[in-house]
Symmetry: C2
Subunit: 154 residues, 2 copies
């Protein structure tokens, strides 16, 4: 549904939202280590997010990535759109070209409410609101395995 690239982009942008501002810029290396993402890959993603005006950057000593006030008003769907495009998120679950409420695939009426739900969440909250919601719960998003387990989580 989402590519790894999108997932990395979301997690690291939310990291920026919580830990950076115009005065406190953050290097790729720091973020990559903290959320456990390959850093050269993240560097590439960040270039693209900068071009898409989702995040900001400056070079040189004390340079790095950060969110400007304008950036903070973007939402998670902007990130997904910038990296994957929105088509990946739309489209029939079984791949049918013609699948809608008058001609639904067998899982259409299970999938559509879910999509509307998650789309609303990704579109209606700003990145800051999203990050705040996470911080308020005391959570910290990382791909690290704090307590490695062999089973896939549900």
């Amino acid at each position: 549904m989402l590519s790894n690239a999108s997932k990395y982009a979301i997690l690291s942008t939310l990291y920026l939202a919580e830990h950076s501002n115009e005065e406190r810029k953050i290097s790729v290396k720091e973020i990559a280590e903290n959320i456990d993402v390959p850093s050269p890959f993240l560097a590439k993603l960040f270039q693209q997010l900068v071009r898409g005006k989702i995040i900001s950057s400056s070079k040189g000593p004390h340079g790095g990535f950060y969110l400007s006030e304008k950036n903070k008003q973007k939402n998670v769907l902007d990130i997904i759109d910038n990296i994957d495009g929105l088509n990946k998120l739309n489209g029939c679950f079984l791949g049918l070209n013609e699948c809608d409420s008058t001609n639904p695939c067998p899982v259409h009426f299970i999938v559509v409410p879910f999509k509307n739900n998650i789309l609303a969440k990704f579109r209606d909250l700003t990145i800051m609101e999203f990050a705040k919601e996470i911080a308020d719960k005391g959570d910290f998003l990382t791909l690290k395995n704090v307590s490695p387990s062999l089973e896939a989580p549900i």
Copy 2:
């Protein structure tokens, strides 16, 4: 969420369910044309489904693919498991390694009910029941564009 391979496998197995039986076997070519899937690719998938005992085959004149009585008792989740494995369907929507109800990602409580829903549908109906439900509604699943449109369907 599902690979193309899984989607093709589901659609073509459901096609077999409706159109084949031990006496009436169907060639890859016929199915590929009917549901609009690349036929050499489908041939590969079918080899794997035969090895996984999801469908049956016989060679030679009047040979082809079909569902045995045992095959008909399999469910859609068996197809997905055989092609993609089940991990692709499980796993956190944002890719977090540790995401559960005590330590949920921001969309956990939107994603989990959906997954339970669709998993139940894929697991609790046999392939025949699934196919019958579709046929009863008068539907026919294909990837063909009957009336080509430029917009991605929702």
